[in-house]
């Protein structure tokens, strides 16, 4: 495997060619939070929690590290003030449309979103907009689907279609209205059939 060198947070770091910046950093022991990313399964850069600053020819841009290729000589900042500020905003945006009922949630203390919010020290959310309130789908014998807690990371879709190759989920609509239907509407009418 060809090796390349890049600079992350002022440290010379070696990585394999073809790696993304997120993997390269983690391999070097530098942690960047991530949410939608699942190695080899879901690499779509949708949540923007893994934002870093990338410097090319003196210009710094914000990039999602999980989909940004690590290249020779790249200069990366994973925790600059700008990164911390924007990353925080991204998580606040995710939370602004998330039913935050942590204490009674089945995933309390075992939730990646909660974990990241805690790590970033988010105490209040300045965005107050529309909040979805959809019925919880539980009319089958094995799975409960609560759209109000979905952050549209599409990991469910990725694992179902790429690993299991069953292709149950497919995202519909766009932006705020994005939704990943089943298991529910396409399953439940005569479930269990």
């Amino acid at each position: 495997m060809d090796k390349i060198k890049l600079n992350i947070d002022g440290k010379e770091v070696e990585a394999d060619k073809g790696m993304n910046v997120l993997e390269a950093a983690r391999q070097a022991g530098i942690e960047i939070p991530s949410l939608c990313y699942l190695r080899h399964i879901n690499e779509i850069g949708s949540c923007r929690v893994c934002l870093v600053e990338v410097e090319i020819k003196g210009t710094k841009t914000l990039q999602a590290s999980c989909v940004y290729p690590a290249t020779e000589g790249l200069v990366v900042y994973t925790s600059s003030p700008r990164v911390r500020r924007v990353r925080r905003t991204m998580v606040e945006l995710l939370l602004s449309d998330h039913h935050r009922e942590c204490t009674t949630c089945i995933r309390n203390l075992n939730c990646e979103l909660q974990n990241i919010a805690d790590n970033l020290g988010i105490r209040n959310i300045k965005f107050t907009g529309e909040m979805k309130s959809l019925p919880v789908q539980n009319k089958n014998s094995f799975i409960v689907r609560d759209y109000n807690k979905c952050i549209k990371c599409r990991r469910c879709e990725a694992i179902c279609s790429k690993v299991q190759e069953v292709n149950v989920y497919s995202a519909i609509n766009r932006a705020y209205d994005t939704s990943l239907p089943p298991p529910s509407c396409r399953i439940c009418p005569r479930w269990p059939a």
Binding site: N110, C111, D146, I159, V168, P183
Partner: protein, 432 residues
């Protein structure tokens, strides 16, 4: 497309948008009811995964503490599904030999993963005759508890509640299938995932780490090493071949471990000598790999015995296993499944009893109750049939399929009010 209920999406979801359907409250209710006799069974893989929730490293074997915790929760009897896994081995080994003799279709496809069974019903329904008619071990267990065990202990089967601790969401669905039971009872009343059991233990305030090690109850808690390795990919075939070899030669196989059979490459094949001829076995885990294998079968390739588990890694990677949402490097990789499987293999090595047919309780149940493998009683209680369902959810394409062994008349329900297309063909477009 239709969902196969494997629950992998519930493991993948970082939040609580997709979760298992909890039935903890119903189990508490049964435990609190003095009239009910609550029997619990634990799947082989639970003993290597439950510890993770309580801070043990991945792959720690906590069998003794698991049993102790279940007793503290108030279950009347604590049994192991490993016992009926042994029974499945024997039934399935006989089925394999029968089919090798030309009675029934080859290849024999394993049927103990309900996610895979549903996958086959939806996407490969032309192979339903190839599926072993054996119910999955936990259903066998339920059926025997409410017949054999009830009779032996003199308990009215109506009073018995069977709770299964499973690594699996598909088993929740399986338990709700109408064919899994008789008119009088459901084989298994409640299925709890590993995660739900951990929550019950916490709710009861049990200090898991301080529990003493206790043993399963007899008779249905005795199991061989063959039963344990059911919980990881390759285990079913390995166990069944051990037994089939003994049945045909009367000799024990010297070399017990087919190295090429276990482990984590998604798809594997091997040749094994049985009945004086080499038979070709194949193993796939994760339905993505199963698709590759089934497409080869469809294209006409010959196999004799095929084991498929719906979840990557087998039960140790099941949709009901612990989730590490709070950890820093959360990743769905196969690494931790590997450690869990190694732990199951260690249990197998450590047992004196390694072959299913040596299990004294299994021998006894055949003497006292079942008669012989594939006999009438076992066909009735331990075997089932399958339904072609088509690729889209919500439809039953008419007719049920059960090949020779489980094809018992009483087992097959009336065909009315099922969706049967007139010309026997299905116009998929119309269904959408």
């Amino acid at each position: 497309m239709a969902c196969i209920t494997c629950g992998q999406c519930a493991i993948a979801c970082p939040t609580a948008s997709i979760t298992e359907k909890e039935c903890i409250d119903s189990v508490w209710e049964a435990l609190e009811d003095p009239d009910k006799y609550v029997v619990v069974q634990t799947a082989p893989s639970i003993q290597v995964t439950l510890g993770e929730v309580f801070g043990y490293p991945v792959g720690t074997v906590v069998t003794g503490k698991l049993v102790a915790a279940l007793r503290r929760l108030g279950f009347d009897r604590v049994f192991a599904t490993d016992f009926t896994a042994d029974l499945t081995v024997i039934e399935e080994a006989h089925e394999l030999l029968e089919r090798l003799d030309g009675r029934g279709k080859l290849p024999l496809l394993s049927s103990c993963s309900p996610g895979w069974v549903k996958f086959a019903e939806h996407f490969y329904s032309e192979f339903l005759d190839n599926l072993s008619t054996c119910k999955s071990p936990h259903e066998m267990f339920g059926a025997l508890t409410k017949t054999y065990f009830a009779e032996k202990e003199g308990i009215d089967p109506k009073r018995i509640v069977v709770v299964a601790i499973m690594p699996c969401t598909a088993k929740k669905y399986e338990a709700s299938r109408p064919e899994m039971g008789t008119e009088d009872f459901k084989d298994v009343d409640w299925v709890l995932t590993t995660r739900e059991l951990a929550r019950m233990i916490r709710q009861a305030g049990i200090n898991f780490n301080q529990l003493p090690d206790e043993d399963y109850d007899v008779p249905m808690g005795i199991s061989s090493g063959a039963g344990s390795i059911f919980g990881s990919t390759g285990g079913v075939i390995e166990a069944a071949v051990r037994t089939a070899y003994f049945l045909t030669t009367g000799k024990e196989m010297d070399l017990l471990d087919y190295e090429e059979l276990r482990g984590f490459s998604g798809l594997k094949e091997a040749w094994v000598e049985l009945k004086g001829r080499p038979i070709k076995v194949a193993i796939a885990h994760g339905t993505g790999n199963a698709r590759v294998l089934m497409d080869r079968l469809r294209a006409g390739e010959q196999f004799d015995y095929v084991e498929i588990m719906a979840c990557p890694g087998g039960c140790v990677g099941g949709g009901g296993q612990p989730i590490f949402g709070g950890r820093e490097h959360k990743e769905i990789s196969l690494d931790y499944r590997h450690n869990r499987a190694d732990a199951l293999a260690r249990i197998d090595y450590s047992k004196e009893l390694r072959r299913a047919h040596e299990n004294p309780s299994v021998k006894k149940i055949y003497e006292e109750f079942l008669g012989h493998p594939l006999g009438d009683i076992s066909k009735n209680l331990l075997h089932t049939y399958y339904t072609p369902r088509g690729k889209l959810p919500g439809f039953n394409y008419g007719g049920t399929k059960g090949s020779h062994a489980g094809h018992v008349k009483e087992n097959i329900p009336p065909q009315d009010n099922q969706y049967v297309p007139k010309d026997g063909k299905v116009d998929e477009q119309k269904l959408q």
